[in-house]
Subunit: 216 residues, 2 copies
Amino acid sequence: MARTPLRSDLLEQITARVLDGRLAAGARVNEVHLARELGVSRTPLREALIGLADRGLLVAAPGRGFLVPPFDPDEARRLYPLVAELEALALRWTSPLELAGLPDALDAVADEMTAVLARGGDLSEVDDRWHGLLLSRCPNPHLLRLIAQTKPLLKRYESCYFGGAGRAGESIGEHRRIAAALRDGDLDTAAAVLVRNWVKALAYLGKDDDDHRAPE
Amino acid sequence: MARTPLRSDLLEQITARVLDGRLAAGARVNEVHLARELGVSRTPLREALIGLADRGLLVAAPGRGFLVPPFDPDEARRLYPLVAELEALALRWTSPLELAGLPDALDAVADEMTAVLARGGDLSEVDDRWHGLLLSRCPNPHLLRLIAQTKPLLKRYESCYFGGAGRAGESIGEHRRIAAALRDGDLDTAAAVLVRNWVKALAYLGKDDDDHRAPE
DNA sequence: TAGCGCTCTTCTGTATGCAATACTGCCGAC
DNA sequence: GTCGGCAGTATTGCATACAGAAGAGCGCTA
C-alpha cells in the first residue's frame, strides 16, 4: 500500500486541471475518461472529486456527477476579501515573538519574487511560499486549514492578476512593507497592508474579465 | 437512484455518532462494522468518512483508516474564537437592510429557547436555528460553508456548555441583545456581543473538562 | 416542420472482490 | 522476565462489477 493515498495525489492533479482550464469551467467531469487518463480506477478518483466538492472547487450534481463551477465575477469579489480576512486573522493570532523571527526570511522570498518577475516567470508559486511562510507560525490549525482550502478557489481567478506586471511590482512592494511592519512589531499595520494587498488584487481583476474563460 | 446521495445521509449519521460519543474520541473507525451497522456498503461510507476528514471531524491515518480525534482543550480554545470571528464576519458582510428584517424572527426563536430551557430540553438545536437565521442573509456562500463545516467540530465540546443552565440563560439574554442591536442598526454592537457570546461559552467550558470524555 | 415520446446508450451511484499492509498473539532467545 | 521475531488474522486501499437513472438520437404525430 502506498503510504500516501492515491486520492491525495489525485486531488492535487485534478486541482491543477481545474486551475489551468484542462477541466473547463462549466463542464461536467467524466469519471471514466478522467480515471483512464490518470491511470487509476474510479474509486480513488471519486474520493478526490468529493474532497474537491467539499472545498467548493467542484460542484456535486446528484445523479449527474461533478462539474466545474462556471466563472462568476461575484464569486471572485467575495473570495478575495474572505481570504484577506482569514489571513489577517491568522496573522493577528500569531504570537509577536514568533513573527519577529520571520521578516528576514520573508524578504528573502520577496527577493525571489523580484527576480522571477524580472525574467517574466510565474509569480504564483513564490507568492504562495511567501504567504505560507507568513502564516506558518499561526497556532490555529483549523484556521490554516480553512485558508488552504479556500485559496485554490481564488487561484482560478488569479491568473490574469499576475499577468499585469505593474500590479505585480506593486504587490511585491506591499509584501516588503508587511515584513517591515513585522520588524517594527506593528502587527496592525501588517494586517492592514495584508488585507489591502488582497483587495487591490481583486480590483485589478475586473479589467480583463474574460481572459480566464479560455485559458488554453 | 436516490436523488440524495447515500454519502450525504451517512455524513450526517456519522457526524451524530461522533458528537454523541457512539464513535468514541481517540478510537479507530472500523469500516466493515460501521457499514454493516448502517446497512450500506463500504463505498459510500468511505466517501462520507473522507468528507468528515476534510472537515476535521475525523483524521485520516494512511494505512490505518480513519480515527476520531481525541479531545483537546487547546483545540476548543481555538475553535470558539474561530467560529466567533467567522460569524462576526458574516454578520458584517450582510446588508443592514437585510438585517433589519431579522430581529422579530430572531426573538421568536429566542422565545423558543427560553421555553426549551424552562422544560429542560436540548437547547443546541434551537441555538443552531437562531445562528442560522442570523447568518441567513449573508451573501458570501463560501464563508457560510466554512462556518457550517467548522461548527460541528465545536459541537463536540459544546455538550457540557449547555449543561450549565445558568450560562444558558445568560446566553439567551445575549442573543436578545444582538437582535436589539440589529433593530437599532448598530451592527458593531451586534458583532461584538456575538463574539463575546462565543468567547464566554468557551470560558464556561473549562470547568467540567472531562464530562465529554465518557458521554455514554 | 415542430414537438413529443420512445428506445438505446452513456454514465453515475452502489456493491462486491482482491491484494497488500497493519495488527495480534505466541513462541523463542537473551 | 522481557524483548524481538514470526505466523495468522483483520482491515484498509484500490479495482472491478452491476443496477438504475440521465441523456442522445430517432421516429411518430399533429
